[in-house]
Subunit: 354 residues, 2 copies
């Protein structure tokens, strides 16, 4: 595979679009959990039932179009190699859970990869809609539209009192998880993040690393999402989340100014050294790569690095993941081999900017 | 001052010529200590006597030519600013000792800076001749020729039994110090240098850092010279030194091959990261700069870095010294200001190669 094509695969087309507050908010996502009425949840269902659900979705929705999403493709996970599955997880198109139960699972994906509807995850359906920057409300509207479209043919498990019924009780009610992916390097540098994360959780929100629960905040990227799905409307949840995100954006901007004023030259040195490391190293592990990529993105935001596009953070964070590297190499790689290929891919990617 | 001109000043013209084993031996030097007969040594002489010696040399030798050395210039140290004096030390044209006693001292320099005859250092005359690469024998012949030329007008302090008489007893006899400047990064990396230095001293030789006695081996550059000046002819001393230098060259080459075979990728990573640091850092102290410059020079010798000339080690080691940086800035600089200017000068120098 050529690197250009490889990079094209790393970045979903929707990620190339501009979005509000894109210097700090990388993406907004709405995920709705839905189940078929009178059907056992996937985690307890037998093979026959799982096959039935999967075939229904494929027959009714594959190769159909909804609004701007033309020709939705259904991808059964059994069609994919282990590496291809990792790649979809690294692009956030499917969840790690879906891979673990991949015999009767799949996903319905739009061509621009903005919409991915997982089938037979924890719930029968998991509708995901992505937008660049901070666009939670638009994403919510769009996910509702998709939800209505699906509901034309699916009878959802819904209770007048509880709301949407889900496999895990933590999703009951709205079945909605709204989340934003934020790049917060200055809050990390000034250590303010350690104070902010506990404060955020008091609002019923949760802060995680880039690959969800239990994952590290590699590259200073944080996922902020709602914890509570019950007792509040989807709009209220999104409003509350958005208000906290706005405050985080403000804090991050103030922290950046503070660092600039106090230690501008030191920060510049750190950022350009990171660029040098990315541009020249021959062996780099994913932790160091993430740190350097985050630094370079901050350098772009501060106007110091002007020959490199801001999308580089999104691209390189995905490109340098183990699955993607193995996809590129077209074989499985030992960690030391990945560190060498990672360095090579990053160098080539930076050269494309010249 | 423009950077081009500044660099021109950092590198003596003779350094640009090719020399044998230039990948490891940066330069060869012969230094002869000579004194006027029946004159008190400079360290004990009164002002009147010192002025007399200085004026004699200036009157008899300034603006004269000897062989290829046209128009020798006499530079009294009183004509120089403190920064200009440091610059001459950093270029090895004068010794730190000469600066400390600079009221009646000076130096007679050839245009290509290959010859520098210090006046009123520890001895009345210190004749220095430099050659690129390993050329001790040529340097010795040339220093003898200069010595003869000076002797046409100067009556040397000489004793039939002891040989040339000098201010410090360690120089009595030949009055000669032969030395080579060697770049030994692989012997440092493999720690063999720690074993070799004591062994070398058993041959009556001494190993020092780049700026002589007590100085650190910055940039993996070592100065190897004879300790003994008495009881052996100049030719024998030079032969013995040269034989040890040949062995060091062999060891260094073997160590480079060894590292290449065992840890090639790791070495490549280290070298290119150093290049990245030099090309991008905004603050760099002289220790880190020296380490990176040494790595890059090794990368050039190994054929990995092909867009940069080998002279970069010699140039940058001088350019990044405190005196030179202040000469460039045209004012005195605090250490933190020097670290910023050093990074800037290195970046600009690397860009000139593109």
């Amino acid at each position: 595979m050529t690197l250009d094509k490889f990079i094209d695969q790393a970045i979903s087309p929707w990620m190339r679009e501009e979005g509000p507050d894109k210097d700090i908010v990388m993406s907004s996502r709405i995920r709705l959990a839905r189940n078929f009425a009178d059907q056992t949840y996937p985690i307890l269902a037998n093979e026959e039932k799982l096959v039935e659900i999967q075939e229904f979705i494929r027959d009714e929705y594959a190769n159909k179009s909804f609004q701007t999403y033309k020709d939705l493709q259904y991808v059964p996970l059994t069609d994919l190699s282990p590496v291809e599955k990792s790649v979809l997880v690294e692009k956030h198109l499917i969840s790690p859970h879906l891979i673990k139960h991949s015999d009767y699972a799949g996903t319905l994906i739009s061509e621009n990869e903005q919409v991915s509807i997982m089938v037979n995850e924890e719930d029968h359906l998991r509708i995901q809609v992505y937008y660049p920057g901070l666009q939670l409300k638009t994403a919510l509207e769009q996910s509702f539209a998709l939800d209505d479209w699906l509901e034309e043919k699916v009878d959802y498990a819904f209770d007048e009192t509880k709301g949407y019924l889900t496999s895990c009780p933590t999703n009951v009610g709205t079945g909605m998880r709204a989340s934003v992916m934020m790049h917060l390097p200055a809050l990390v540098l000034t250590k303010q993040i350690n104070r902010l994360i506990p404060a955020i959780s008091q609002f019923g929100l949760v802060v995680r690393g880039i690959y969800g629960e239990g994952s590290e905040a590699l590259g200073n990227i944080f996922q902020v999402s709602n914890q509570i799905t019950l007792g509040k409307s989807e709009q209220d949840i999104v409003d509350d989340l958005e208000s906290v995100v706005h405050q985080l954006i403000e804090h991050e901007r103030m922290a950046r100014n503070h660092i600039l004023e106090r230690t501008g030259k030191k920060l510049e040195d750190r950022i350009f050294r990171s660029y040098g490391t990315l541009a020249y190293s021959r062996i780099i592990d994913s932790k160091e790569a993430s740190k350097c990529i985050s630094d370079v993105r901050l350098g772009i935001d501060l106007g110091w690095i002007d020959n490199t596009s801001g999308n580089i953070l999104n691209e390189l964070m995905v490109l340098t993941q183990p699955g993607f590297l193995q996809h590129y190499a077209n074989r499985s790689l030992r960690p030391d081999e990945r560190d060498i290929l990672r360095a090579s891919v990053i160098r080539e990617r930076l050269k494309l900017e010249e």
